[in-house]
Amino acid sequence: MTQYGFYFDSTRCTGCKTCTLACKDKKDLPTNLVYRKVFDYEGGMWEQGANGTYQTTAFMYHLSLACNHCENPACLENCPTGSISKDEATGAVISGAEETCIGCGTCVQVCPYGVPAVNPDTEKSVKCDMCIDLVAAGKQPICVESCPLRALEFGPVEELRAAHPDAVDGIAPMPAGTETVPAIVIATCPAAKMPGDTEGFVANEWEVAAN
């Protein structure tokens, strides 16, 4: 199996959320389900100087994150009904098997990246499936092709890592030190903070908390 994954360039991302909405359009998602989320991560202080002036250490960047299609997915390992699988061709993690998923939400609880959700209408686990239909047809996932800034790439994750040797596998607000081996490659912008950072905060929590 060749593990496919996403590359995200935080130097290019402007937080426009086109990836989010392109995904919602293709997957016909309702308002309350989001498969690709864009985090606004920001922080910094202000200091008043003489003569009414100000100086600041404010910083801000964005992180666009869908499923990381981990090599050792916690969701798959912990699913009590065996309803999560990895696609043979791409390594895509596919959840919510029609026959067996009982919507118990274990995957929601165990994913370190907070990716899966239980669709309240179908009571099945749902999440990014790498647009496996498009990929099978030789195309890119809809989010990758949609990005106005060309901040997303998709391909065999080893090729992405080789093409972007300075990239990392996580930046804040992603958690530090997971053992799932996420298939994600991230270029760091000057503002980027490492996982576990306490300087910044997610400023749009209610937007990315949906589902």
Binding site: K24, D25, V38, G49, P148, L149, P190, A191
Partner: protein
């Protein structure tokens, strides 16, 4: 390079699916086209097939025209792909989050379905369904009555802003066939800039004209880019638009600095690119920077004496010689207010430390090719005309104009569209007013004069506006200003007697309609449009109908043609052409001028044609040979000192707060920082928002979910008010109050709060009038700017408190 011009669609394309879809529609073709029985039926057509790809284009007022490939199944758009032709790193007009949601607009349950007439008080939004025949007959009767009673000057048009294509927006053509209308000069986006430029680079200069401004692509040849209130990541968002150029410019290693009260998305990931400034004080920063150029000996006197008028005494016009009225006299404190514009002078105005101002001055002095550009927000202030002129002084004083990598200080240039809109014809009415003055013209038109109110083409108005067309335009209230005051004028139907609104959804403006007509979406009929006005490439798209028009919605061209027919000017309006025939006609003209454009039949099959565009350098011709290429100013040169402005200042009737000076000085302006009080201690600036194009898309929950309407407030200002991130707060100005969620963020300078423009006004106008939609124009003053008589959108004083 020519990209992908001959590539055929990879997928099945069926021409003219509309007829099949219309027959399949529940209403049937009879009622879909029921207005005039002699209207031609749509031509050709086969039943829509599964996986059909239908090409189309976005149509709102963001400056882009992103490409759609509608995936259609069983007569409905199921999702859209965008422009994926050619290399990903090349020109691709990739739709933004809004365009990617277009099918949810097309199929939204809030679409207007039928013609309606008002049955309650005006503005109450109580309507009753009527037939197309009754609607057209009523409009024609009222229009004839208005023209017969008051004359054509009593008719005005709020033009197309949200549903563009080359055969759309024929309202002016219709009225010009009927004797004309009172036109509005300039627009809400750039009015102060247009009037500022007029007296600097001449009346032929426009805000996007590539003779006067460089394309953003030219900044690839720059070594320092300085941007004032220019935020492509939230205003020019498509994949072929300026946001993409800015990203490439950064990637090439060009140093970038944004002057902005707010850390906009354009500096995402690169906080060092942000220099915070108090909103409305850009011209003060400019004055201090120019001061440094002068004391550092970096003012390019050869350039200034050859190409400009009025930098110093040497080039002052005769009328102003020997009076210490030069720009240098203003800067060095030897004229005007007699205050030297040192960085220390600018500190308490701009909130930028003097040492930092000197640093920025040094960067500009050291740059070989500074690319200096303002966006449109710097000039959308009560002091906007002078601010526009001031920013243009930076490259001018350095003599870094007309050369590779530079810009003139204006916003980046716009391309020229390869295909023109259906001509509007000549307006027999020569009188016009500014875009921001129409409420006054409804309220007390005959009192408005040239010298006090900016009436053009006549000394005064002869009548008030009695009949108002509103087409795909939410500028009656939402996108205008002083919504509460405007409401009071609009609800009095003895003033403006009749309002027709044509739109796709019930906007706040549409609530004031007497007759309300449902427009078709561009996805519902054949249409043609080009690259967007801000996208630096050449493109043409032939859009085919992807769905049948919703309910009884009709394309506005057909609506106007029906009205023209009943007005007795049908032939003059249509010239015998249908929508499709106009597209053919206009496109044939375009191909005569540019034979490299593909044949129409090829374009129809191919959907989309695009090619790269060479960069443009603003004022290149003038600088290379000023004698052969003079500007259209009276002197033929760049007018730093404008005699025309001095004459206006001497002759117009101005309020004491309305400052017009012959040089680009700093004035705080009405509702600027010098107007702050204990009651209103904060400045409030609007900004463009990712979740909307102005107010377009503003009703769609799917977009709102991840684009929350919030007031941005610095932690310092929030703390003193006990305001927490995420809570609903009250924002009050002298003109109104909104309730809105607080975003407590270090991304905005203390003392300034920011509210994204375009949110849908939502207030009980017979009750407390508190706007729970958070529309920033609820807070905006009605007073126009001094010279342009235009909207001062970002000059607002407010208090923010716990609700």
């Amino acid at each position: 390079m020519e990209m992908d011009t001959a590539t055929l669609s990879r997928r099945t394309f069926l021409k003219g699916s509309l007829a099949g879809l219309a027959v399949a529609g529940a209403a049937g073709a009879g009622s879909l086209y029921g207005c005039s029985s002699d209207e031609p039926a749509p031509s050709g057509g086969e039943q829509a097939a599964e996986d059909q790809i239908v090409w189309g284009q976005c149509h709102v007022n963001c400056g882009g025209r992103c490409i759609f490939q509608y995936h259609v199944k069983d007569g409905k758009i199921v999702y859209v792909e965008s422009d994926n032709r050619g290399e990903a790193e090349g020109i691709q007009a990739r739709a933004c989050l809004r365009g990617r949601s277009i099918r949810r607009w097309v199929n939204h349950p809030d679409r207007l379905q039928y013609p309606m007439k008002r049955v309650g008080k005006r503005g109450e939004a109580k309507f009753e369904r009527i037939t197309w025949d009754e609607a057209i007959d009523t409009i024609v009767e009222k229009l004839k009555h208005t023209i017969d009673t008051y004359g054509n000057e009593a008719v005005a048009i709020k033009h197309d802003n949200g549903n563009f294509s080359i055969t759309s927006g024929t309202m002016a053509r219709l009225m010009n066939c009927c004797g004309g209308f009172l036109d509005f000069y300039n627009n809400y986006s750039t009015a102060n800039m247009v009037e500022g430029i007029r007296y600097t680079f001449g009346p032929e200069a426009g805000p996007g004209n590539q003779v006067y401004a460089s394309s953003m692509s030219e900044a690839l040849n720059s070594d320092f880019m300085l941007l004032f209130g220019n935020n492509p990541a939230e205003t020019r968002m498509g994949g072929a638009n300026s946001t993409r150029w800015l990203s490439q410019i950064r990637q090439k290693g060009v140093e970038i600095l944004h002057i902005d009260p707010r850390m906009s998305e354009s500096v995402s990931g690169h906080p060092d690119e942000w220099q915070p400034i108090r909103t409305g004080t850009d011209a003060a920063l400019v004055a201090a920077l120019v001061h440094e150029f002068i004391v550092d000996g970096k003012a390019d006197l050869d350039f200034l004496h050859t190409y400009c008028v009025g930098f110093d005494e040497e080039t002052m016009p005769e009328s102003a010689k020997g009076q210490n009225k030069s720009y240098q006299d203003y800067i060095m404190g030897t004229g005007y207010d007699m205050v030297e514009k040192t960085p220390e002078w600018a500190e308490p105005i701009t909130c930028i430390p003097a040492a930092r101002i000197r640093e920025i001055a040094k960067k500009l002095e050291d740059a070989q090719a500074p690319y200096i550009a303002q966006g449109w927000s710097s000039q959308r202030h009560s002091n906007g005309e002078m601010t526009t002129r001031a920013i243009c002084m930076l490259p001018t004083v350095l003599g870094k104009v007309g050369k590779p990598g530079t810009n003139t200080g204006l916003r980046e240039a716009n391309p020229i569209a390869p295909v023109s809109f259906v001509p509007s014809l000549e307006n027999p009415v020569k009188t016009s007013i500014s875009c921001y003055e129409w409420v006054n013209a409804i309220d007390h038109g005959p009192e408005m004069t040239a010298l006090r109110d900016g009436v053009r083409g006549a000394d005064k108005l002869s009548t008030g506006i009695k009949f108002l067309w509103v087409f795909a335009n939410n500028c009656l209230t939402n996108q205008h200003g002083d919504i509460n005051g405007t409401h009071d004028v609009l609800v009095d139907d003895t003033k403006c007697e009749f309002i027709v609104v044509i739109d796709t959804v019930l906007t706040d403006s549409a609530k004031y309609a007497d007759i309300l007509l449902p427009d078709a979406m561009r996805a519902e009929h054949e249409n043609l449009d080009t690259n967007g006005y801000a996208e630096w490439y050449t493109g043409v798209n032939y859009g085919m109908p992807a769905q049948a028009p919703a309910f009884e919605a009709k394309f506005n061209y057909d609506i106007n043609a029906a009205i023209a027919e009943k007005m007795g000017v049908g032939e003059a309006f249509t010239e015998g052409r249908t929508n499709e025939q106009w597209i053919e006609y206009m496109y044939a003209q375009a191909r005569e001028a540019d034979p490299t454009l593909p044949e129409l039949e090829t374009l129809k099959v191919d959907g989309f044609y695009k090619r790269d565009m060479a960069p443009a350098i603003g004022l290149e011709a003038f600088v290379s040979d000023p004698a052969a290429n003079p500007l259209s100013t009276p002197s033929g040169k760049i007018e730093i000192y404008s005699e025309s402005l001095q004459e206006i200042a001497d002759t117009w009737e101005l309020d004491e707060r309305d400052v017009i000076l012959p040089i680009p000085a700093f004035d705080p302006g009405r509702e600027g920082y010098t107007d702050l009080t204990e009651e209103y201690p904060l400045l409030c600036s609007g900004y463009h928002f990712k979740g909307r194009t102005h107010s377009s898309f503003g009703f769609m929950e799917i977009i709102k979910q991840c684009n929350t309407q919030q007031v941005w407030i610095n932690p310092i200002d929030a703390e003193t008010r006990g305001i927490e991130h995420g809570e609903i707060v009250a924002v009050r100005s002298p003109h109104g109050e909104v309730r809105i969620e607080a975003r407590v963020t270090p991304r905005v300078i203390p003392g300034v709060v920011c509210i994204p423009e375009g949110a849908w006004h939502d207030a009980d106008m017979d009750g407390d009038r508190i706007d729970h939609g958070g529309c920033v124009n609820t807070l905006l003053m009605p007073n126009p700017t001094p010279l342009a008589k235009a909207n001062p959108s970002h000059s607002i004083i407010v208090q923010v408190s716990k609700a």
